[in-house]
């Protein structure tokens, strides 16, 4: 009697695949992200994000091959997020990339401290902590046309889910909220970041950082709902 594919949790493998999927998705839309950032910003966002994700890819390969951060269980669900945090904080230029690093760092902490496997409660905690850290540093509010416009709605959506809800469902709600938030930036005039210097040129262009946040949650949702792999027994 073969195993039937069941709902996936946020296992080490699932989080590894989430990061891999996010990297592939960003790579496929990088020209669009760059074009948006050239219209309102300094044009380096897409390239910085791809550079970071290439580094994450190498870090994940190293993790799979047995390298690790001595403080963490390298087979834990948090290890891939911790690897991503280090790469984005240390090796990506500009400001948006390292701010993503703070989000990954908080997600890693929340998943690392949760019961195994981590679920909706850990996702909600990590996303809220990431949003708070990014707002402390960047001093942006919702409506300033930054990644916060997608991240805060995602955090709120996750917080509104039952802590015991299926994480796939919670991520669906979060991805929809982040996507709506990212689309809402289109008509805004930037008030923070490089795009704020372009004045009304930023109108009509969605914020690439907010779109990248939406892709992050969409990737997680897609990973948990894909039935392409049998659950690891």
């Amino acid at each position: 009697m073969p195993d039937q594919p069941g709902p996936k949790g946020l296992t080490h493998t699932a989080v590894m695949d989430w990061m891999t999927r996010f990297a592939a998705t960003v790579r496929s839309v990088e020209p669009e992200l760059t074009a948006l950032d050239q219209k309102a910003g300094d044009g380096d966002f897409g390239a910085n994000l791809v550079t970071g994700l290439d580094g994450v890819r190498r870090a994940l390969d190293a993790l799979a091959a047995g390298a690790g951060n001595g403080e963490r269980d390298r087979r834990g669900p948090d290890a891939p997020l911790d690897a991503a945090a280090r790469v984005f904080l240390d090796d990506v230029g500009g400001t948006s990339g390292p701010l993503f690093g703070l989000l990954f760092q908080e997600l890693a902490d929340a998943l690392g401290m949760a019961a195994d496997p981590p679920g909706t409660a850990a996702l909600a905690l990590g996303t809220a902590a990431g949003a708070a850290a990014i707002q402390r540093v960047g001093e942006a509010e919702v409506g300033d046309k930054t990644m916060v416009d997608a991240l805060v709605p995602a955090a709120r959506a996750l917080a509104s889910c039952e802590p015991t809800a299926d994480p796939a469902h919670a991520l669906h709600v979060a991805a929809v909220a982040a996507h709506r938030g990212a689309r809402s930036t289109t008509d805004l005039r930037a008030r923070r970041g490089r795009a704020s210097y372009t004045g009304d040129h930023s109108r009509g262009v969605p914020d690439p950082g907010a779109l990248a946040v939406a892709l992050l949650f969409a990737s997680a949702h897609a990973e948990l709902t894909s039935l392409s792999r049998l659950p690891v027994s």
């Binding site: 904080l89 230029g93 690093g101 703070l102 760092q105 902490d109 850290a133 540093v137």
Partner: protein, 332 residues
Amino acid sequence: MPQYFRDSPESLVPDALAGFAAAHADLVAYNPDHGYFHTRHIAPARRVGLVSGGGSGHEPLHSGFLGTGMLDAACPGRIFASPHNRQIFEASRAVARADGVLHIVKNYTGDRINFGIAAERLAHEGIRCARVLIDDDLATDSDDIAVGRRGTGATLIVEKILGAAADEGRGLEDLVALGTDVTRRARSLAVAAAAHTTPQSGTPAFTLPDNVLEFGVGIHGERAEGTTPHAPLGKLVETMTDQLLAALPDSAGARVLALVNGLGSITSLELYGIRHAVAKALDDRGVGLDRSLTGTFVSALDMRGFSLTLFATDAEALRLWDAPARTPAWPL
């Protein structure tokens, strides 16, 4: 068209960092893995590490003020660009003491964000970290400017006073309160007769007609709100002095410290002439000049101009100002 003496635009900063480290090897060391300088001599009583940093092109700020009585670490960015959070994070980790680390940050968006990310990472590692934000530039004191006043000459005063206080073993909150208060009591204004030369292109960042001054320039070659005719020095200094005195808090007494600072390519001859004019302007207004410092400390590449900083002193600030310091560039 003056050109910089360098092998290439890309070599300007790295070669200078290497030269600085070698020239002052008795006082400072450079960490090549993470791109920061740290002092070789730490006052034993210090409980808080002092870290600053910012774009290159403002020399001798910040690396010139590393050492006993001043900074523990300095993080140089590319020319006129914020250091990366990794430089700040690693420098802070390296020099944090029992009561953590204090970041001395000039108020620019990039610096705020990068020091902020480093602070989040330090908190994540359980290292106490706080910030003093320097925002003394009177030219950007406007409700229209959402990001607030720029940080300029007062940075040197804060680094000196906080360094002396840190050497007395004061704690983190105490130093934050002192640094915030010093910043509140200091204002600066800068004028330029010619822009700096852009290293990449070798051309001036902006051009001015003859006999016109840019009044209220920043330290990154930013244009000012307006220009002013090249008035005689005495008149110019009087105007600047009046504006600065009016901007100091009412609670401040009628005694000041003056920093007469060259922006890069102004001569000592001129700076001491400016120092003379400042003393006269203050005297005419019944304001006592307790201390002064004249030279090039916070520059803007080779900008032909100067800044004037007035700081409302008190006995405590003077005592800390007078404390000995041994760094590559502290002149007293």
